[in-house]
Amino acid sequence: MSKNTDKILEALNGALGDRILQTRTLRPEKVCVQVKIGAHRDALKLLLKQDENAGISAITGVDLGKTIELMYHVRMRNTIITIGVDLPKENAKIESITDLIPGANFHEREVSDLFGVTFEGHPNPKRLILPEDWPENVFPLRKDFVAPDFQSKTENSEALKDNEQVFGDERLVNIVLGPQHPALIEPEKFTLKVEGEIVKEVKPRIGYVHRGIEKAAENRTYLQDIYLVERICGICNACHANCFCQTVEAIMGVDVPPRARYLRTIILELNRIHSHMLLLGHAGFEIGYETLFHYMWRDRERVLDIIEELTGNRIIASFITIGGVRRDLKEDVVPRIKVELEALRERMNFYRQVFENDSTLKMRTKNVGVLSRQDALKLCVVGPVARGSGVDMDVRRDEPYAAYGEIPFEVVTYDDGDSWARLMVRLDEIVESINIIHYALEHLPSGPYRVRVPRIVPAGEAIGRVEAPRGELFYYVKSNGTAYPERVKVRTPTFANILAFVKIAEGGNIADVPASFVSLDPCFSCTDR
């Protein structure tokens, strides 16, 4: 346990005293402080005071039979401190923390949907993941959940009636963005209240592609779960696989061979490059710059070719597995990859010039959708969105995984906080990623690329974090000593970033909505899981 963690624990002990019930370890080297109901707010206040960059990463619920354990995972510098609270299953109620940190808004609503925990004092305690006509008092992630009879679904149909069409104010017009809309490739709904061309209010509604993956993961073996979590997000599939595997490896105490760690780093960075290029091209499309879109996506093909050389697949790599990777990198492929990457670097210089010099592109993205540093911290945004607002955070550096601890690289930040800055962060990160892959290829250790692991995972729990292209990806896995996990919690980066869209769209021009929205790189199949 690091010095930093010890200091925080000491402070917590001093402030809460006997309200701390026990302290346990979440692997690897994370602490979970169990407190009495009601003490969680004081603990959180203290943690937020300790570190100005602190924010809430996720709230995990676990059904323990008689009680529901809530875990508030608080992101601190270099680590995560977890505050646990046990709630009685009947009448599960707890005070909301959304007033302390607005970024907890969606996390609390999700837990309330899936576990039936009531958060007292929540500003908007509506359904978030489940549909409006889902029966009351049926909570899918509880262990005693029985699937309701969907054939006779009449119970709650009143709730389906959309009250968002009611015009409170004559001058306000509702423009509904989604669930089907050309600006959104995936289905979510955003209701914009518009006065003239100015957006006054945004109401997000997610959950349109909720597939119950967290529940499904409990009914599959760990090995099957790798392929399941890869399908949470097609674009950053390697990140999900890596995050899940490293979390399970932490429970097992498996050491991954160095070669596998380097190969993982390479595939993760390739993932990042192709995801960022996809987004940059898409941003061009959203602002009507189709040439940029087509150019970018054609160059992206190079990355997909490299991924194919490395893993045998173009998108869903199925490359990372528990204990290492599934294929070795052939020596004769390495020079080809290097050549392709150099060509890509040339193109990136060209695109950098385009982004810096093209006047129409700058007119549409500069000073559009500004997210200040304070707001970014309050809303707990992650990844390029946070870095575009000057928040210096990157899991790769703060808490190295795979081979990142041994590879030198820069964390790109911009202070502008506008759409342009967020796009530039990604553009520069592509160049950094190319450097990382070069370094990893040059220093690729020899040796085995995987170790065999048993199918049964010992009882335990662990937290894993990975810097996915869209930001910090968070996994919590609890094992009960069988081949099936007890609980898999996934907090995807877009889930943390959706609140930022509400912030940056309000007060802006309606024509800027697509441009500022795309700069968050939203991925809704991730968000809903």
């Binding site: 017009v173 423009i175 809309h181 050309p182 600006a183 061309e197 061009g284 499309f285 959203e286 602002i287 009507g288 710059y289 189709e290 040439t291 940029l292 879109f293 087509h294 150019y295 054609r298 093209d358 129409t360 592109l361 007119m363 549409r364 021009n509 309606i510 024509a511 800027d512 909505v513 697509p514």
Partner: protein
């Protein structure tokens, strides 16, 4: 009787209706192909050699599709706006000398430039009506944007079109085209540049394709249209592009006139006209490819603060040049 047959041929076949529709579809193919090549894509390849029949196939396909008229639309306007706007654009071609003479012989008169520009405005207004009658929020927004943009750009376009008229001392398009021993684009290049930019806005192309911003307002004014009506709406958009390019050719590039190597002259005139027109199409397509879409408020700023004063200034400069090169006499 003989004369009547020729009249019918000229109106219906060449250089009248059939030629214009076919040529429009051809220009559509050229646009798509050029845009695709500039964007590192293939463009149409499947129908006909190099996909040349693709626009035709698309048109036929739309004609055969189910025709849906939503219940809430303003029925009459909704049904007739596409046809009316298409026929007005097509009719405007009658005043442009394509093979050296107008479609109907001697139909040119002093002031037909004003007539054609007015017809273009009216046809544009029908495009606006087509969206407005749809009673759909996306269509209405798209229609409002058409109108906003068109109010802004019609004025500079008129002012800029006066410059060649002044140089030729005539408001007749045929006379203007015929009097260009040197194309006016070379005599007054600044007017030509401004005209192309304004045309880009008139034709709703990037960076001014705001009424078509599909990421913001889906299909714009076309959203509720299907089948035959959509086919005509699309065709009328395409004819508008060709007409805009044709007016540019007539006013600035010497119309159909160019060197004739052997008779009959109308073959050469048509050839020159087509080549010049394709040049303008390529030019506008190039501009489309290199710009992102502006926002409606930015467009208005560009228009009122920049283009309007510039067009007035360029008209003044043209008057100066006019007296220098073409003294009154």
């Amino acid at each position: 009787m003989n004369l009547d047959l020729e009249f019918l041929f000229r109106v219906l076949i060449f250089p009248g209706f059939t030629f214009i529709v076919l040529f429009t579809l051809f220009c559509d193919w050229v646009e798509r192909k050029i845009e695709a090549r500039m964007q590192n894509r293939m463009g149409p390849t499947y129908t006909g050699p190099a996909g040349i029949l693709q626009p035709f196939a698309d048109f036929i396909k739309l004609l055969t599709k189910e025709d849906i008229v939503p219940l809430t639309v303003r029925d009459f306007i909704f049904r007739f706006a596409p046809i009316l706007s298409f026929s007005i654009f097509a009719f405007s071609f009658a005043f442009l000398p394509i093979d050296g003479a107008n479609t109907i012989f001697n139909s040119n008169f002093e002031g037909d430039l004003v007539l054609v520009l007015t017809l273009v405005s009216i046809a544009n207004f029908f495009l606006f009506l087509s969206g407005w009658s749809s009673t759909n929020p996306y269509s209405a927004t798209g229609a409002a944007r058409v109108l906003t943009q068109f109010l802004g750009y019609d004025i500079p376009l008129f002012i800029l079109a006066l410059a060649p008229a002044f140089l030729a001392r005539s408001l007749s398009i045929s006379t203007i085209a015929a009097s260009q021993s040197i194309p006016f684009a070379l005599v007054v290049p600044w007017v030509f540049v401004l005209f192309i930019i304004t045309l880009q806005a008139e034709l709703e192309k990037d960076p001014f394709d705001i009424p078509h911003a599909e990421t913001e307002i889906v299909g714009g004014y076309e959203t509720e249209y299907t089948g035959r009506r959509l086919a005509f709406l699309k065709l009328s958009k395409d004819v508008q592009i060709v007409l805009g390019a044709a007016i540019t050719v007539e006013l600035f590039l010497g119309g159909p006139y160019g060197p004739i190597f052997y008779s009959p002259s109308f073959v050469w005139y048509t050839l020159w006209f087509v080549l010049k027109l394709l040049f303008v199409v390529v030019l506008t397509e190039y501009l489309t490819c290199v710009f992102a879409r502006l926002r409606i408020d930015q467009v208005l700023v560009v228009n009122w603060r920049l283009l309007l004063p510039l067009s007035l200034l360029s008209l003044a400069a043209t008057v100066g040049v006019g007296f220098l090169f073409y003294p009154l006499g």
